[in-house]
């Protein structure tokens, strides 16, 4: 097992990098290796982690969902608007979920049946969803969550044995995605389709339906991440649609070693990618490194990881033919 973990794959490289950083910070930074700080570290990336799990599922199926952040902010902000208009929170969230399923279905149909590349479809869908939301669902770009719902507050602020609820949510989603990918027919079909869509289809896998289902699932995972986020900071800030968040999500996925050509990787890769980003952010915040320098260091470490991966795993004929995005 130890040998397998050290096998020079991208995942291995990133894992080693994360481990080195972790040990380095633990040795040289005061209060890094405390239960409180580790929990804060995981909590700070748990929403990113949940989103990355959804993205991973789509990428494994040889797709990409650039509309995740837009879907998340619009659906959750709309649910908050409805809740402010005295609709019970459960009903408001159900309305948000229906919206998400609709968006996922439309995206899926365009990708699966019209065969428009997922990268363009979801890029456009993101803008459409956000524009639609801004025009019809909400006018103010920060929507506060309603108060007086115990379970909702717990999702944001509660703890079980000191573990914050967002971390638990991340863990539960990770476990579910792991089980689905490993043990269900849907999961195995996702791998088959991602690895070779034509072969999968000839073998009888309903690839088109499967693609539609993928986008619905990724949308619902994004919605869940949004609910946790809204509970955590008492509202949904739709401005994050304009931030680099969707690229951070993609970064976690790719950095963890899930190839954009599909069919490879799993939940473990997402966990490794999330861990590296989390350790980096936490360490740099403790070191009180400035904003610009943080971006510089982050980018250099990421570029370094990719270069090391290319050195260890040079391009062969197969990877060159499949290509990257």
């Amino acid at each position: 097992m130890a040998i397998k973990a050290l096998r020079p794959t991208q995942e291995g490289v990133v894992f080693l990098l994360a481990a080195c950083l972790f040990i380095g910070f633990a040795l040289f930074l005061n209060n890094f290796l405390t239960v409180g700080n580790i929990l804060a570290l995981v909590q700070s990336v748990s929403i990113l982690g949940i989103l990355s799990l959804g993205m991973a599922l789509v990428v494994i199926g040889r797709g990409i969902d650039l509309a995740m952040v837009a879907t998340m902010v619009v659906a959750v902000a709309w649910a908050m608007v409805l809740a402010q208009a005295n609709i019970p929170l459960g009903g408001a969230l159900l309305a948000g979920a229906i919206f998400v399923v609709t968006v996922g279905t439309v995206t899926g149909i365009i990708v699966a049946y019209a065969e428009i590349p997922a990268i363009f479809t979801t890029l456009a869908m993101g803008a459409i969803v956000y524009g639609f939301g801004r025009t019809f669902f909400f006018q103010i770009d920060v929507q506060n969550s309603p108060s007086g719902y115990g379970w909702f507050d717990f999702l944001g602020h509660g703890t079980i044995f000191r573990v914050p609820a967002p971390v638990i949510a991340f863990g539960v989603v990770a476990l579910l995605v792991f089980l689905v990918l490993k043990w269900t027919r849907f999961g195995r079909f996702v791998y088959a389709t991602g690895d070779n869509p034509l072969t999968a289809r000839i073998c009888g896998v309903p690839t088109r339906v499967l693609i539609v289902a993928q986008y619905i699932v990724s949308g619902l995972i994004a919605f869940l991440a949004g609910i946790v986020m809204a509970a955590n900071v008492s509202g949904m800030n739709t401005r994050i649609y304009n931030s680099t968040m969707i690229y951070d999500v993609l970064l976690v996925v790719v950095l963890g070693g899930i190839g954009l050509s599909g069919g490879r990787g799993g939940v473990r890769n997402v966990l490794v990618g999330t861990a590296l980003v989390g350790i980096l952010l936490n360490g740099m915040t403790i070191l009180n490194i400035g904003y610009t320098e943080q971006n510089l260091i982050k980018s250099m470490i990421l570029l370094g990881a990719i270069i090391i991966d290319t050195l260890i795993n040079p391009r062969d004929e197969q990877t060159a033919q499949q290509g990257d995005i």
Partner: protein
Amino acid sequence: MKFRLLSTIAMALALSFLFLGTLRAEDTGLDQVGRKEYLDVVKGKKVVFIPISMGFDITESWAAIWKKQAAELGYNLEIRDPNWSTDAGTKALTALISEKPDLIIVHNPDIQSYARLLKRAQDQGIKVLQVNMPSVTLTDSYVGADWVTLGEVEANELVAHCGAGKGPSTKIAFVQGVVNGAANIYLKRGITNVLSQHPEIKMVSDQAASYDPAKARAIMETVLQQHPDLCGAVGVWDDADVGIGAAVQAAGKTGQVFIVTSGAGNKTACDNIEKGLLTMDVSYNTPLQGNIASQQIAELLQSPDKAGLRKSVFYGPLTKITKDNINQRNCWTMNDLK
């Protein structure tokens, strides 16, 4: 005879009514001196507002006030919303320079991006009013907060609460917004001005959250792990700094950490003060800013001066909002403005 008497009385009565009638006409008053000239010159003028983005308290409150003014005075107000994209804003501004409106109102995303374009607009004879977020180019008018003073006010509050022997420690954290924005740059100067006089105050963290409450929360959580005895936190915008409050509350340190930030004075911020997420909000009262800018709009549209001839700056009042002065004047809602 009788008939003549009656007709004389009738005529006298009729005359007196007529006389009274003229008197009543004079009672309706005179036209206010200068009013017609004012309305005539302002009517039909074209004013375009480029905000950083619509959809949040600050810009929505200004727009509500100016829309009302435009309807009353008959000038055309257009809003070109770049939705947080500096690039889209630059394009809008470039297009406007060739459209030549009478006045451009600009809310700068940062101090550099529009600076050259604003100078070009002035050279082309377009008047420019900058609101709340100035660029490095001084134009006809700036109306908004005095960010340096605002930073000093915030820092002085922290000195008062976290000076030696006053709080649990003398440690404070600074959670910045968008680092190249005017608010952030000048507010930081104000904070530095004060803290350089008070070396006992230790700034243990100086990080940027890019106006994202989730990021502010993550930063604050880490800082509180490192410095459980933190005494104060200073932020730039209340809208995002509720994230600081959420982290402090989650750590069970409400009341220990003095959280001071600034903002528009919207009711939402006041609610957050009541919930204990913020301790003090230094408000620049955006409806008031909107009214002051209205005066500047009227003045710039009336003035025959060439664009850029006279440059004026006006800083609106600052109000420290705490639990003690949450009232309707300090905490406005959008409905108050409509």
